[in-house]
Amino acid sequence: MNPAVEIQKPSLLKFWGSRVISAIAAIAFCAGIQSLGGPLADNEFLYRIIVLSGLYVTLAVSLNLINGITGQFSIGHAAFYQVGAYTAGYLTVRMFSTQQIGEVPWLILMCLVGAAAAAITGLIVGLPSLRLKGDYLAIVTLGFGEIIRIIAINIDEVGGAYGLSIVPKIQSPWLIWALAILCIAVCRNLLKTAHGLPFLAVREDEVASSAMGVSTTKIKVTAFVIGSSFAGAAGALLAHYEAFITPDMFKMEVSFIVLTMVVIGGTGSITGSTVAALALFLLPEWLRGLKEANGDALVVSAPQLLGATLAIIAYIALARRVRDHYHGKPIQKAGFQFGVAAASLVLFFLFKAVFAQIGGLAGHEGWEINSLRMAIFAAVLIVIMLLRPQGVFGHHEFSWAWLKSLFVKKKQEAS
């Protein structure tokens, strides 16, 4: 079905040309983020979430390396984030004033320190992964995360439960996004070369990998170290951006959010992690922002919530039936799925109207959308697992060829 592939060495011009272009694009992007502060000066909140979303991209993509690419089910990523934040924050509090170096170079240095501290933690957490698999590893990483948080609460040197305030505050939006781009580039490069294959092989089958001469130990620990060091650097940037960190900022909730991003994006897909991180971070924050902008909370009423729940259940049931029992052309299948979605939307309004008629429920003043955030995350996680366990992007990555094929096909269909 597929033609035999011709494998050619990329031409020098193309190789270096594309790299220079990517580098320029990355620099331009970071500069753009930095200069966005001007036009968005009167909408500080929006600027802030655009900047901070870079941290979540780093977290999701780095967790994807451990979780999606190498298949080590780690769910305690917040621990590395925290180690980076605390190490860098503490050093700044202690040492910055005596240094003769500028703020940004210092911040870069702190990123490296945070990354190193997190990498060491990653090494320690990675070691059990040599003996544990799947669900056991998940619990152990979760446990490590909690232990680290409890330890931070009990060290008065770093502010205990009250937190650590970091002086000076060093906000560097471009650096946050540069880290995200670096993280994406590193993972992408890994997958572009043969060096990435052993990581994928370990995910697919450890026994077969080791029979092929892959040192599974080395691969797993490497994944943990690289992944955690990026999270550590992100933590360092967070600490200096917020200038105040508390153990509560690194609760299990954060780990679960990052995990949700990876899973929904498609385990193993860097594109998926990135897109999901942006969507899942920006959307709720933006909704929260609506409140601040209008002075009015976006409120979800009880009938709406119940209606949505029932509509989602109906959607899952119907969509599963279409997926499992209807074998047609992809386009027809997509049409059916679309129909199911539309039907569920109709059901939503129907249920909502019915519940609104039932006394009592309508009287409830409802919930602010933000308090629904985690519940919605959880629901989305379940829906994705039930309907598309491989995540939205599956194992696929964005590529120009893919984008082109999309347009070419469209043209053919149009003509």
């Binding site: 592939v5 294959l197 089958d205 080791s210």
Partner: protein
């Protein structure tokens, strides 16, 4: 192909052959069960060697202790004169032994080509940093590995499906891909665990040819497990028979075929 018979006799008569793999009283116990009990045999360079026996005889377990999946309870396994008993699987693979699996263990969601590249990656020369920074050495090496993998796929007649997901291949092709992947590690000795299982007669015929080519054109030593007696007897020059972990017979196909112990072992199994 016409000269294979000639080569066969040549190989069996070659007295000056150098041993490549030697099992000396290899034994492994799982709790109370002795799955492999003092098994000893020797493979010479260039052998096409068969390992047979009824279900549960311990054949796969022999592969597992050779390749380091399990550590033998006692006994030695010498590969090119070096004791490899208890080494880690990846170390064994690096030394030059590679295998296929009875219950196919491909990297399912990787492409056929990528599966073979994983095999070849063992002999990589560039470091991880070079890859993470996408430096030319790593990129060039990747291209080379892919080229080599593609050549192997041609040999195994899988070139047309190079870009398919391994898990999507039909059974027979998956088995051939397992062999291609093992070959990619550049082994001196290749272990095939029931390579013909689930294949139809034509596929088996093609497989036999391929296995001979592996030995003759690529200079590998082959040790294979197979239940199809005709396949083994036609292909292998020497055979060892296991039953309940014990070696009950060894020799040329003719000797083994007529050994009453072997007949009893197989008949006994059927009457059970």
């Amino acid at each position: 192909m016409a000269n294979t018979a000639e080569q066969e006799t040549q190989a069996t008569l070659d007295e000056s052959a150098t041993p490549i793999l030697e099992l000396a009283d290899a034994t492994i116990k799982f709790g109370g069960l002795t799955a492999v009990d003092s098994v000893s045999f020797t493979l010479n360079k260039g052998d096409l060697f068969g390992l047979i026996g009824p279900n549960g005889a311990g054949k796969t377990t022999v592969f597992n202790i050779i390749t380091g999946v399990y550590k033998p309870t006692s006994g030695d396994i010498l590969f090119n004169g070096r004791n490899i008993a208890g080494l880690k699987p990846e170390k064994v693979a690096q030394l030059g032994i590679c295998r296929t699996f009875q219950n196919i263990r491909l990297f399912g969601s990787l492409s056929v080509l990528e599966n073979v590249v994983v095999g070849g990656f063992l002999r990589k020369k560039t470091g991880l940093f070079s890859a993470l920074a996408l430096l030319p050495p790593a990129v060039n090496e990747t291209t080379e590995l892919r080229k080599k993998a593609m050549d192997l796929l041609e040999v195994m007649d899988l070139a047309d499906v190079a870009q398919s997901r391994a898990a999507d291949l039909p059974y027979g092709k998956q088995r051939r891909l397992e062999i291609a992947r093992a070959m990619a590690t550049g082994p001196d000795l290749i272990l095939l665990d029931e390579p013909a299982a689930g294949m139809n007669p034509q596929e088996k015929e093609a497989l036999a040819t391929t296995v001979r080519r592996i030995r003759d054109d690529f200079d590998k030593t082959v040790l294979l497990i197979e239940h199809d007696m005709r396949f083994v007897m036609n292909l292998c020059e020497r055979i060892v028979v296991l039953d309940h972990g014990v070696e009950i017979s060894a020799g040329t196909p003719d000797i083994v075929r007529n050994d009453p112990k072997v007949i009893e072992a197989y008949l006994g199994e059927e009457s059970e």
